[in-house]
Symmetry: D3
Subunit: 191 residues, 6 copies
């Protein structure tokens, strides 16, 4: 079995208090510590900046729902072949959407997913930012506008695709292992 | 929700007897009819040839285990962005391996999967057949040989990658929808 | 000179009767045995399934002429850099079309071939199935429809592109050598 | 002339105090405000996280010199076709290296730059993280090790390539305009 | 039938004397006027430079045989999907080599052609110049050296690949039609 | 510091008179000898043909200004990652345009450059010729026509893209070093 990360993973006790507290809080909520927290804690300053950025993009009001934000993560992480992000954010997306199928659909090929045209357009834009950002132009924003996305929404889509473009590259470089727990989360419909 | 296929899907009662019987047999065994059977039944002759070919490659003795054959399907279907094959054969692989994690690992990036060097080499070869077959050369076979694969095994790997290269293209062209059942299969460890 | 295949090629006498008969029949008709028959006969079950599938797609009534079916083979085999299929099916196409130029035109770049818009559209679709099947969508089918192709025709185009995508990968993996006879066939106009 | 960004650029006076102070500090040091500060200030939380991350990676002790860190930025930004980052970080690199040629060399093709093998290996790794991160494996780290890079250095290289992969995508999406001042900086050798 | 070129093709009588004479000379030798002469004659100065360059690379003494030079043309023109150059230079190669098969083999996939290791190495280098010239490095020259190629030979290989890279782009842009005569030339072994 | 070329560079005194004179003339005008002249002089016949072709395309009347011709060189050389051509022709473009910014903008990403729609369309066409010439079709010419380009202008654009496609491959293969002088030329606005 591959380790959490090919880089050293610090013991919780050895971490600065603020990082340990964030980790304990997420553990309390999720029931386990997602490996990205442990792996990035090897570099406390980068950990703090990473999660500050993450929260600024993912936990906020705005035109995109929390679930749509996770769709962007899953689609672009699939395009970047990032195991950690596909598995971990796929779990979150299933829970938000209460849909056990949607994450695999979007990760493999968002064009074949059960999505309305609005979300298809959102993911087309996100995947273009992920794979061919130099070719983004005003016509791409216009297409988003036709589906009701404001310019602020477009920034969000681009920024999430860009941030997880970083995250995907970090996870690939460190061979970040998804926690076993993620694979099953959100797959069994609650009654 | 997207349909089973963008092409017509025949009613079971309208099918030739041999095809109906095969479908009923698979239904008996699996508890449901995988959509690929229904979608391909639109063309009975192609249905017969497809499953004859499938069986010749996937159900046989030889140097590759049944589970290794499914690994090849999942890795190459991931490389070809084929939703149906990733989801359906991912399910089969989880069951064969009694491992709820391995299919997602291989589908997203086989290089990060929990695999011994032998299976890593097998999938490297399979993915090269899937994506750059014109560049296959003797050095690729030699590398397989170093991991204990015979020439007959190499044929099997190449043929499975090639057959599912066809299957992936068919499924993508017809927007073949994976059955909902596949997504959860093999994810909950039996006790 | 490279051999017929990098894998063993069975002697005709050693083959199962049905396979030997098919090979003798093709030899009678063509005057020689195309190497794909000999190379695949190494695996009788795969041989049978392969040619059953081939016949189901290539020898049938329908909206596509036999010649158009071969055009699809040549264009997609060129896109996949498959020597055997370009040379062997190029020969067949020249004979069907009674046109000594068309096969090379389509194999190198179908956009520059002497083709009416209908066949150009057919080959655009086929090459997209061959190279980027995950991106096929309804707009592609609509474009075919504008050129008079029915949905059943579209299935045929996709299925032929997919089947020869398999065939190309097999031939590349086994370094299948085209028979010398194919190179000249159909190049000298009959009077 | 294209604007600073296709998104709104806030007036300095309207900004939160901490952001305004950071901007004034950089203006004092550089003589002008790099446009990335103004463009990102449209989103104060993202601004803060972005620069915290930037500083954690770029302003620190470690095995990589400040100049080597900028080389990574320039090489990967060139690979991602990001005008802002090539021009702005090219300027910084010229100044750090006191070399008016090195930035253009690295941005266009780092293989042709006046670099010792150590820095060539560093940039090969960085560009692989930028373009094919899913294929990074232990052999890549071993090659870095042969050139004297520690594992912590390798993290730095990967993290800088990943962070600017994000930055490049943001800049491309917002059409971030490099300040005119950057183009000439560091090109005229001081005496 | 597509025309010789999508641009105007001048009448022979209207051409400057030196160009007309070159064309008449080639017609005397070949029995017809290859279309590239007619199409480029639309621009006399470019015509003169093009053929001066062509002759400097293709008609000269040196470590490469005339036939090897044509192999480079055919392999790189295949890689660039250039119909005119594959067909016209394929004909010349067949005649030089007295081999009716070699041109199609090299055009479709030089790795599968009946070639000794020396010529395989030559074409590997040529195709890399054609498709990924920015990645050419000393190791590529060393590999040529192992097969007995001098540095001057390496220049020739690179220069021929580069010149026909230009020629391929011109021919593709003008939809240059190969003369019908080329398709059959060299295919019927002389006795 | 890398040398002028990985191939021998002849002494001026050893050159044929016509070549020496051309080199002395360019030295008189530019104040130095651009390295491409020295490197190509290793092969006098190729030198003569190269510059004859260059002059036929770059020094002429016609619908494209001299500056637009250099834009094409810079954009396509950027697309081909050619250090020499980006740096040397970037210098010439800055001087022609009296614009110290335009060359870097076009070399990194012409879509983000300060250009009117006409020149954007010109560079889109040129970059398509450089990277995907087999896909050029009448629709591309029609788009040029909408921006006022004649068919003769279109030939010029394609021919310049093709010629520098050759030049880029030569420069990359020989590791042609740009003269230090080019880097600063045209960057300091004259008053």
């Amino acid at each position: 079995m591959t380790p959490v990360s090919r880089f050293p993973v610090p013991a919780l006790a050895a971490l600065p208090a603020d990082i340990r507290e964030r980790i304990l809080a997420v553990q309390e909520k999720a029931g386990f510590v997602p490996n990205v927290f442990l792996a990035l804690a090897h570099r406390p300053d980068e950990f703090r900046a990473f999660f500050a950025y993450h929260d600024a993009l993912m936990i906020k009001e705005g035109g995109l729902s929390k679930s749509e934000r996770e769709m962007i993560v899953v689609a672009t992480s699939g395009a970047n072949d990032c195991l950690y992000c596909v598995v971990a954010h796929g779990a979150i997306l299933r829970i938000y959407e209460k849909n056990p199928l949607i994450a695999d659909q979007i990760a493999v090929n968002h064009r074949k997913a059960d999505l309305p045209p609005r979300q298809r357009a959102m993911l087309d834009f996100a995947v273009k930012v992920a794979l061919r950002s130099a070719e983004i132009e005003e016509a791409d924003y216009a297409r988003l506008g036709e589906h009701g996305f404001s310019d602020e929404d477009a920034w969000d889509i681009a920024a999430i695709a860009a941030f997880f473009g970083m995250s995907n590259r970090l996870a690939n470089a460190m061979s970040l292992r998804p926690n076993d727990e993620f694979y099953l989360m959100g797959r069994i419909p609650k009654r």
